[in-house]
Structures are given as C-alpha cells and as structure tokens.
Symmetry: D2
Subunit: 140 residues, 4 copies
Amino acid sequence: MTHISQMLDSHPRSTNLTGDRQALLDCIDACFDCAQSCTSCADACLGEQEHVPHLVRCIRLNLDCADICEVTGRVLLRQTETDVTVLRAQLEACAAACRACGDECQRHAEGMGMEHCRVCAESYRRCAEACEKLLASLAA
Amino acid sequence: MTHISQMLDSHPRSTNLTGDRQALLDCIDACFDCAQSCTSCADACLGEQEHVPHLVRCIRLNLDCADICEVTGRVLLRQTETDVTVLRAQLEACAAACRACGDECQRHAEGMGMEHCRVCAESYRRCAEACEKLLASLAA
Amino acid sequence: MTHISQMLDSHPRSTNLTGDRQALLDCIDACFDCAQSCTSCADACLGEQEHVPHLVRCIRLNLDCADICEVTGRVLLRQTETDVTVLRAQLEACAAACRACGDECQRHAEGMGMEHCRVCAESYRRCAEACEKLLASLAA
Amino acid sequence: MTHISQMLDSHPRSTNLTGDRQALLDCIDACFDCAQSCTSCADACLGEQEHVPHLVRCIRLNLDCADICEVTGRVLLRQTETDVTVLRAQLEACAAACRACGDECQRHAEGMGMEHCRVCAESYRRCAEACEKLLASLAA
C-alpha cells in the first residue's frame, strides 16, 4: 500500500498530470515494483551456489533493469514542468530493458525451475506493458 | 501490491534472512514507499509557485531522503552474504534522515496546510519506525 | 583522476568492450561528470533565494538528468553480457535529456547570468555529444 | 577532469560550504570515483567465468558500496540547507561500507591475483579516508 496515489492527488499540478491518470499511476507502480524484483532477483541468482555461472547474463540484465526502472519511476513521479520528449525516450528505454530482461528470466524460470526468475519475469511483463500503455496514451 | 514477499520466499537463502522476517519486509516496503513520497513531495513543493522560496529546505531534505531511503531499501533486499555492520550503519543513516525530513514536512503540513507534506510526513514516520524496529531485531 | 580506465583494462572481457574503446571511456566519464553537474546545478538553483520560482523548470530537468546520466553511466560500465538494444535505447534517452536540459541551462546562463548554469550547460553538451558519438560507433 | 570544483565555486552559498573546502571536494570526488570502481568491479567479477562462485561476497558488497557511495556523493554535492546530522550519519555509513568492501577486494587482489579488485581496493581506501577526514573537519 504505497502513498503514490495520495501524493499525486495533493500535487499542485494534479489537474495537469502526464497522459491518462490511471495509466500514469500503473506505470509508476510497475516501475518501482519491477526495480525491486530485479534487485532481488540479481541477488537471489547470486545466492544460487554452483549455478551462478549459468546466471551471469540474468544478473547483469537485472542490474541494468533495476537502475533503469527506478529512474523511469522517478521521472514519472515528477509532474512539475515535464518534458514529454525526455519522458518518452526514457519510457522507451525502460520498455526495451524490461522486454530483454523478462525474456532472460523466463528462460531460467522454465529451464532451471528458478521460482525467483518466474516472479521477476511477471514484474517485467507488467512493467513493459505499463510503459507501452502510457506511451500510447501520450501519443493520443 | 509489490512482489517483494514472493521474491524473498523464493530466495535460495530464505531460511537465513536478516533479522525478524516481518520487520525486514516492513522495512523494505517502508523504505521504497518513503523514497517515492520524497521524490513526489520535492516535486510538488517545486510546483507551489510563489511559495517555493519557503519550501527550499523541505525540497533539499526530500531529495536527500529519496536517495537515502532507496539505497537502504536496495541494501535490505540483498540477502546473499549480508554484512551486518554495513547494514546497521545504513539503517541508522536512514532513520536519522527520515526523522529530520519528517519534522520539516510536518511543519509545512501544519503551518502552510500543505497536504503533500502531510502525506509525506506519514511515510517518513513509518520508515523511521521500521528502520528502528529492524535495528532492534538485529541487536537481539 | 578516476579509476575507470584502469578498471576497464583489468576487466576479464577487456578485449571485447562495447563500441570504440575511446568513445566508450569518454561517454562513461561524460555521463558521471554530467550527473554530478546536474545534481549540483539543481541545488545551486535552489539556493538562489527570490530567483527560485524562475528556475523551477531548470531544477526539475536537472533532477531528471542527474538520474538518467548516472544510470546510463552504470549501464555503460557493465561490460559482461551487454545487451546492445538496451544500451542503445538508454543512450538515446540520455542524449535527449542532455539536449533538453542543456538548452534550459544555457538560457539561464545567458538571461540571468547564472554561472552554475553555464558550467552545467557545458557538461550537458559534452555528454550529449559523447552519447551520440558512442551510438554512431555502435552502428558502425 | 570533472566540473565539481567549478560548480561549487559558482554556488550561491559557496562561502558557506560544509566543513573544510578541500576535504569536501576530495570526499565528493572519492565517493563518485569509488561508486564507479565498485560498479565496474562487481561486473568484472561477474565476468570471471568459473571463478564467479568464489567472488559472490565481493560482488554483493560492491553492489551495496556502489549505491552507498553514489548517494553519499549526492548528499555532499548539495550545499543548500544542509542538515549536518543527516550528512554525518551518511558519511559514517559510507566509511563503514568502504572499509568492509575494501577488505574483501584486497583479499581477492592478493589471493587470486585479481587486478580489478586491487584497483577497486585502492578506490575504497581513498574513499574511506576522505569520509573520515571530512567527518573530522565537521567535528572541529
């Protein structure tokens, strides 16, 4: 139960939020949720003893994605004097990262039965979709 | 509804989590929630037109706290080879930051009727308490 | 005098660095330098007393750019299992952010004689060019 | 060649910087340099093929330290309305992290001849010392 929705309701520019309000809220939430899943999945992969060498690509992409999703969430939270060109470019980078990393996690969820990769792949999918939906609402 | 709990359940070292499990989960959640409230409150303050000069200290402390809470949440999420000395020092920095910034926000919530500062002060209080509770569980 | 060059020389995949080696080094350096200038410029603007309301857009874009440049620098530093699609998208977001924020800073450097905005605009220009140069070397 | 020194010279509160000016500059520089070395060392360790399982603790501590040093550098860069209690707590966390991670890197530099760990240990030492020196100057 985060405070994001209350924060945006009390924002002095709340009548003027970027894109569709629900798409914005979902995307902020998905970005931060995904950043947390990535940080945790990189760390869980690192704890997998002798399997670690097979998870190197997964760890690396998780680290990138944790950073990218977090920053995208921060840019989205800011609603004062938004530059839509910057926002759009960052959303596109975030969607690309989530697609690439989600595919990698999904592979380990299936091939090695890694449950943390399965949960993380779910976060990735949700975040990629939320970014794409918000991008579409910005274009409209 | 974040995936943190599922991620920690599927972590290869899940039987060996830092401190009390519930205190750990609450603290991770409070850190990221607070980081988001701080980022949003700094931005909302920045959108307050002619009031901005009175909110400079609030904005600055919010920016510090957004960074500090986020990093504390990341350190807590990592459960492979935790160094308790590092964790403890970072939790203490986070609690100190949340106390200082929470007082500042509370002042603007009361004095200027700033609703975003009131919500943010709530996030700060919860995060400071969660850090202190986890610190106490580590000491036990 | 940072350690980046030594770190990349001793990297186990140093024969296989992303793009042109010098363009990569310059871009990493420019991203972190720019992230620092942005953080400092946002803070300096915030310290400008009664001028702060005129600097709101500059502060906001500086905050976005600090986050975006830092993350781009981190993604570039990582040379194990690089995903070029992700890297390229993040470099494009970084160049777009640096162009937008650099224009804003340049305006305050000229119109209000803000020296910190002038220095920061220099960092932005260098970072945008370094990203574009590395992008070109990746395409080659 | 970063722009930090020029940025602080042009800061509207430049006559009022935190602690000793040279200690402050050195500490900011050391924090960001160390954050970059940690990010790179974690990634280089991850690229060490069959040695990765022996480097798990090093990678994890490097990730913590990259985050902690970066945030400490950001807090230090901000010179408007500094809260010295928050700053001091964050500097202490940073010094603790650099000491713990530096010891770990030093061990791999010696035991496994890892050159990236040797360079990174140097960054850690410098950063821990810079934090401690600035802390001493704040106390004076």
